[in-house]
Amino acid sequence: MYLLLLPDSGAASVPDRPVARNPTVVAGVWRSLRRTSAIVTKEIQQLFRERMTLGMILGLPLLQIVLFGYAINIDVRHAPSGLVDHANTSMSRQLASALEATQVVDFVRRSGNVSELLDEMRSGAIRTVLYIPPDFERRLSDAGRPVAQLMVDASDPSRITATERIAQYLPSVRGEAGQFQMTLAIRNYYNPERRSSVQIVPALVGVILNFTMIVFTSVAVVRERERGNLEFLITTPVRNHELMLGKIAPYILIGLAQVTIVYFAGSWLFRVPTAGSLLDLYLASLVFVAATLGIGLSISTFARTQFQAIQGAIMFMLPMLLLSGFMFPFEGMPKVVQWIAYLFPLTHFVEVARGIILRGATLGDMAFRMYAISGLFLVAMLVPVLRFSKRLD
């Protein structure tokens, strides 16, 4: 990768000292590496000097995985619910407790009045109301007639799915009453318990990296400008590609450290089994981290101030996050939006991470995704290398 981006470093020869004129590629590469090491060392030293930043780099992902892992939970659990049981028979109580046994609803309000509970639902105090009519027993023996009504606050779409799912428990109650009705058998691959944390943790590795990596490098170049270091830096023989590679190299290590934190904390906290190879996961992460760092650097060469850089980073991150397939199913997006989403490394990485961790896929299985991320990395690095000017005008 390094040699690839190193067109002509032998140009730095010193004509005044013929002995030092060593046009061999080795000497040129050595000098180039030396210059790159100047940037790498400096970046690491600056990073360690800013304890706050360092703490954020390592602490933030941990905080995020815990927070997101628990909070971004598309499972509906223990939704506070109301119960109106006008039948009040052993069978009706059995129905209510069967629903509660699913853990989706908790009947925290009991009332004789439906409209009173609907008012509470409007205020958000409860999310669903189960109404069992007085003729519940008679309905049980009347095939095809709904025995009871579940009223759902559908303002959050995930609740619809959840309640549709528990509605399937109704027939089993009726089954005990001797009735038979066909139900749809649902079988879930990869997440048989349908725990959303299993879907979220792999993608979260990408989302958290995407967030921190872009923010950190988006200020990398503009910070030199704001602190007045740029005017000196551009009078040194450090070339553009050396500067850019030197700036991302330390963050690649930090990115991999973050992968480790997020992955292991996530797997352990949310009991996510890993089907694929860890090496594959790290290799994929490496390329992905480099690509996101490149995007950050690109932003940095456009921004005039650190404030602008952060704004730019946020502007980029939001669509990346929303279109990645992490928040909403990728398949549901219009084609045009999907094409846009393909331009973001995160979209591909979410797929790769899920593939490796959940489906046990190898990098070879997802070659297209890996090529896409690698290609995006090259483009993302080319932008700052070509855009950064060692001039002030």
């Binding site: 100047a38 000097r49 270091n229 830096l233 040194t236 001039r391 002030l392």
Partner: protein
């Protein structure tokens, strides 16, 4: 104009920023191994000229050759052979002194051994050893400046461009700094230095006065003072303000500068007995004063060069 005789030569060098012409048709030949001074009020184009010569800015017109390289086209080739010290401290304030020095050494691709030697040598020369572990941001003005000069000379450049290097430095540090510059020049380096200070200007081998982007005087300090197109007298008086007001009305007085109870007066160069004429004038006005002829200073040259504007912009 030959790139081998001169460290820097530029011809018709011009740089415009929108409607403002920062550097206007500058012709300059800086001989090798000399300390060459740039003088001029703020905004006269000193910094812009240095940036043009470093290849940090492209000229709007004209061209410049530095150490035989055309700038800005061949600026990258030039980097290893020249050093540029910016007006503001531009090393990393959140790195220590030694970290900054190592950074610069690596950036100029000095090998491990040479890096050690050069840092040791320059640390001794610029008294930085005891400061190695200090953060650059906590250094005093003089210490920073020593660090900056140590850093910019690590790779032993043949040409140094120093943009107002002593503006934030106490007088003793300034003297030490200039001693270092003379040592560097003796070792063969060419130094282009801009300054506000006349005592510093006087120490340069050659001087260029810039005003509003154009070169207005050029030569050795002694020659410039001898060639001054004005006569100078000094007046000691108890009533400097009244005296000054009176002199200001005379068409043979070119400029008056007050220095405490003294007045420094520049008169038309073709006068026969300047001190006598001033005495006469003051005597008629009943002003007690001691008037004497004095040799010209660079300050006078500066005032003359910037058009006798009555300004004390230096």
């Amino acid at each position: 104009m030959n790139g081998n005789d001169y460290a820097i030569s530029c011809c018709g060098l011009t740089r415009r920023f929108g409607a403002v012409t920062a550097v206007d048709d500058l012709n300059l030949d800086v001989p090798r191994g000399r300390i060459f001074g740039f003088l001029g009020p703020n905004g006269s184009g000193k910094s812009t000229t240095m940036r043009l010569l470093c290849g940090l800015l492209a000229p709007s017109a004209g061209h410049a050759t530095v150490l035989g390289c055309r700038v800005p086209e061949e600026a990258e080739k030039l980097r290893l052979r020249m050093g540029y010290m910016t007006q503001k401290f531009s090393l990393y304030q959140d790195l220590t002194v030694i970290e900054n020095l190592r950074f610069v050494a690596r950036a100029f691709s000095l090998g491990q051994r040479r890096m050690k030697e050069r840092i040791a040598a320059n640390s001794a020369l610029y008294q930085l050893e005891s400061l190695h572990s200090r953060l650059a941001g906590t250094l005093s003005g003089g210490q920073r400046q020593r660090l900056a000069l140590a850093a910019v000379t690590l790779h032993e450049p043949q040409l140094l461009l120093l943009d107002e290097p002593t503006s934030a430095v106490d007088p003793q540090s300034r003297r030490d700094f200039w001693d270092r510059l003379f040592e560097l020049a003796e070792q063969g380096a060419t130094i282009l230095v801009s300054t506000h200070f006349m005592d510093e200007a006087e120490r340069c081998h050659r001087l260029t006065f810039l005003d509003r982007g154009a070169m207005v005087r050029e030569g050795a300090p002694r020659d410039l003072m001898n060639r001054l197109e004005a006569l100078t007298v000094e007046i000691d008086t108890e009533a400097p303000r009244r005296t000054r007001a009176l002199l200001g009305t005379q068409d043979w007085v070119r400029a008056v500068t007050q220095l405490g109870n003294r007045l420094r007066v520049m008169l038309m160069p073709d006068m026969e007995e300047p001190a006598e004429k001033v005495r006469e004038l003051l005597g008629e006005a009943d002003l007690q004063a001691v008037v004497r002829r004095t040799p010209a200073t660079l300050e006078d040259v500066f005032v003359a060069a910037t058009g006798f504007g009555g300004s004390q912009r230096a």
